[in-house]
């Protein structure tokens, strides 16, 4: 894994120089098109995919976030 990317993404301090670069919602995937798919892990560490989750439902609501 790219160690420089890991350190940038998982910044240790909430300072604008380190945070603002990640606010890229304006360039996010468009409405009306198939979204990109990625692997995800459940709380037991079992791997699945985002597509496996949305394909099980009529609609899937996904909230992104963290404890902090």
């Amino acid at each position: 894994m790219n160690q420089a990317l890991l350190a940038l993404y998982n910044y240790a301090e909430f300072v604008p120089d380190k945070v603002d670069r990640w606010l890229n919602f304006a360039a996010s995937p468009p409405l009306g098109e198939v979204a990109p798919d990625f692997p995800l892990w459940d709380l037991d560490g079992r791997e699945t995919r985002l597509s496996a989750l949305w394909s099980q439902q009529r609609l899937l609501v996904v909230e992104f976030g963290s404890f902090t």
Binding site: E33, V34, V61, V62, E63
Partner: protein, 159 residues
């Protein structure tokens, strides 16, 4: 958001929480350096903050989060083909509730024979803006998170 998930579960609407990076790392919940730590923080979200929806964890480098714009508290709605129906740069339960109700109505109208075509709309929705509650949330991470956010507000001119 848990209540919204329960409200629509019987109508084929799933809801998940996707764990990203620590937006406000602090003494109790510092920045992430391993998947084991990320899973531990995600379990705390369930156990301490009561998130009852299924929680899934992104890769340590945030591949999924980054591809979707990497804002800290976004919400998205997909259909079963993965088509994006709604995206919001902040999570607000009222906004989600109304969007889901609208899309369910679209399904019903189609079932009833209406011919419908999608179009794009942009609009501003409004969320609660309780800064004191936000700071109480930061305190869970630790004094460092509070201190850094106060300083960031000063730099952004929002103090």
């Amino acid at each position: 958001m848990n209540a919204i998930a329960e409200q629509f579960a019987s109508e084929g609407v799933g809801s998940i929480f996707l764990y990203t990076h620590e937006a406000h790392p602090g003494e109790r919940y510092p920045h992430l350096t391993s998947m084991e730590q990320k899973l531990r923080h995600a379990r705390a979200l369930r156990d301490e903050l009561g998130v009852s929806r299924p929680i899934y964890v992104d890769s340590l480098d945030g591949a999924c989060h980054r591809a979707y714009g990497s804002n800290p508290n976004m919400s998205w709605i997909f259909d079963r083909r993965g088509v994006v129906h709604y995206k919001s740069d902040w999570t607000d339960a009222r906004s989600i509730e109304r969007a889901v109700e609208y899309f369910l109505e679209v399904f019903t109208r189609r079932r009833q024979g209406e011919r419908l075509a999608p179009f794009h709309v942009e609009r501003l929705d409004y969320r609660d803006h309780d800064r004191q509650a936000f700071f109480r949330g930061l305190e869970r991470s630790g004094p460092k998170a509070v201190r850094e956010f106060r300083e960031a507000l000063r730099i952004w001119g929002e103090e």
